[in-house]
């Protein structure tokens, strides 16, 4: 009940800025417009005629970029790690120590509220863009693929949340984590597959990049939808994703546990 109230308050708070939100969502698709033209130019530039790149033809690639937008809608947690680190630094975090609320659950609930409001507002722009771009898709995948896709997205939300929370908790040990977070942002942009499908990397790199859990933040759900990952690979992928969710859940919990013992409550 308590956490439901937190959820409700956060939803009302977020709805105050809904126009900003909807505009922001549409804007986020602008880079894809550039990708549409860039990849067309790349395929036209092949002297021996257009041929698929690592199994992706032109339409697959555009569909891939569009689908990573869906992945990111679930896995991205803007400002989460930095806000946790800031709360630690300026002492705000002691409200969780004084009040009978669990910090991680509180933050998870308010983040869930952000996301729910975001989906409510962003559903329109997303539907519009996907409808306009329907030509890049070869129809809906079958039921099982859809279920796997949804499961991978829900876990991507949890993975993104606990991973960023873990990073924020580093603030218990280091006062300034903004550089670290920036490096994380860069690394994750690359390794999550937001720049290009990971399969495009040469030699053993795709294998290496798929061991790193960042692939679940963008690449994996998109690849599942496009049926680039099927059968046993799909089952293993989902299992590994569940493992990483548990791993970062436990690491966030552990770091909070030990961090609080070091914590010396600066600020008023």
């Amino acid at each position: 009940m308590l956490y439901f109230t937190v959820l409700r308050i956060s939803i009302v708070e977020r709805l105050a800025y809904r126009v900003d939100f909807a505009m922001g969502t549409l804007m986020r698709f602008l880079p894809i417009v550039t990708q549409v033209f860039l990849w067309d130019a790349i395929f036209r530039g092949m002297t021996s005629g257009p041929s698929p790149i690592a199994g992706y033809n032109y339409h697959d690639l555009i569909a891939y970029y569009l689908l990573t937008m869906v992945s990111r809608a679930f896995s991205s947690m803007p400002g989460l790690a930095s806000s946790i680190a800031r709360d630690i630094r300026d002492g705000t975090i002691k409200k969780y120590l004084l009040q009978p609320v669990d910090m991680l659950s509180f933050v998870l609930m308010s983040r869930l509220a952000h996301k729910l409001v975001y989906y409510a507002v962003a559903a329109g722009p997303f539907a519009l863009v996907f409808w306009i771009c329907r030509g890049y898709f070869s129809g809906w995948p079958d039921l099982w693929t859809m279920l796997a896709f949804i499961a991978s997205l829900l876990m991507a939300f949890l993975l993104g949340f606990f991973l960023e929370a873990t990073l924020g908790m580093i603030g218990f040990w280091f006062l300034e984590v903004s550089s670290l977070l920036f490096v994380y942002m860069l690394v994750s942009f690359f390794f999550s597959g937001q720049m290009f499908p990971l399969d495009m990397m040469p030699s053993y790199w795709p294998t290496v990049m798929k061991i790193i859990p960042l692939q679940y933040m963008a690449y994996f759900p998109a690849a599942v939808f496009l049926q680039k990952v099927t059968g046993a690979d799909l089952a293993w992928g989902l299992a590994a994703e569940a493992f990483w969710v548990m791993f970062f859940y436990l690491s966030a919990r552990t770091m909070f546990h030990y961090g609080v013992r070091r914590y010396s409550a600066y600020g008023g």
């Binding site: 922001g24 602008l30 417009v33 130019a41 790349i42 530039g45």
Partner: protein, 279 residues
Amino acid sequence: MGTTAAYFRVFLTFARNSLVRDMTFRGNFIIDSITSMAWMLLNLIFYLLIFHYTDFIGANTGENPGWGRYEFFAFFATSMVINALLQAFFMTNVDELTDLIRTGGLDFILLKPIDTQFLVSLRRVEWSSLSNLVLGLVLLGYSLVHLAYVPEVMQVVLYMIYVICGVAIYYSLMIALASSTVWMGRNQTLYDFWFYITTFSRYPMEIYTGSLGEPLRSFFTFIIPVLVVVNIPARILVWPLEKQNWPLAGFTILATAASVAASRWVFQLALANYRSASS
């Protein structure tokens, strides 16, 4: 004449102060330099990957030579140079302008006996961003060595002029956007907006073809001239003078003058409408 020299001295003082400040937190300076280069290196990997699969970006037709590997790397290097200059001199300052307007801190700047736009735009020099300038110049040198074509002195001079034009166009767009905070209040998406607009200028303009691409190309060339920012200097350097698009190069000079004038006008209109937020 005296005022120009005075302004230049003020700017040198800003530059020196920023350098002293950067050198005080040397570790931070090094981290900032590395992270800003890291982003460019990731992009470079992406482009290397593209040329692993294709020979050209854009079809290689007779009239339009298409961007091969080293032509494109010269293009990307130019983009790095322009962005590094923009970040070193203007980006942080203009970003702060939105905060100054929102918090009312602009009051203190308005009180100073100096041109407000000058003070707002050049207060800090972000020395660490110049690491990308170095990286960009290295990449440019590397690409030129591998290109079959050797540019003439005239082209190098024109290149430098057009790089400055590019920085001026970007700056104008940025300060005009930041000034609009006066009317919009909450304007946190400015940085995002900036990023999205400039994604269109990151690639050669030839990629925008077809019934959707042509209007896009015209829009970002003639209405919001971000496409000429990198394209014009890059092609001036990598293709011989007789293959240049001179009308477009001439237009770029006009567009630069118009952008600077328009942004100056928007900035002063914004100041006239500024209602000191907090005090």
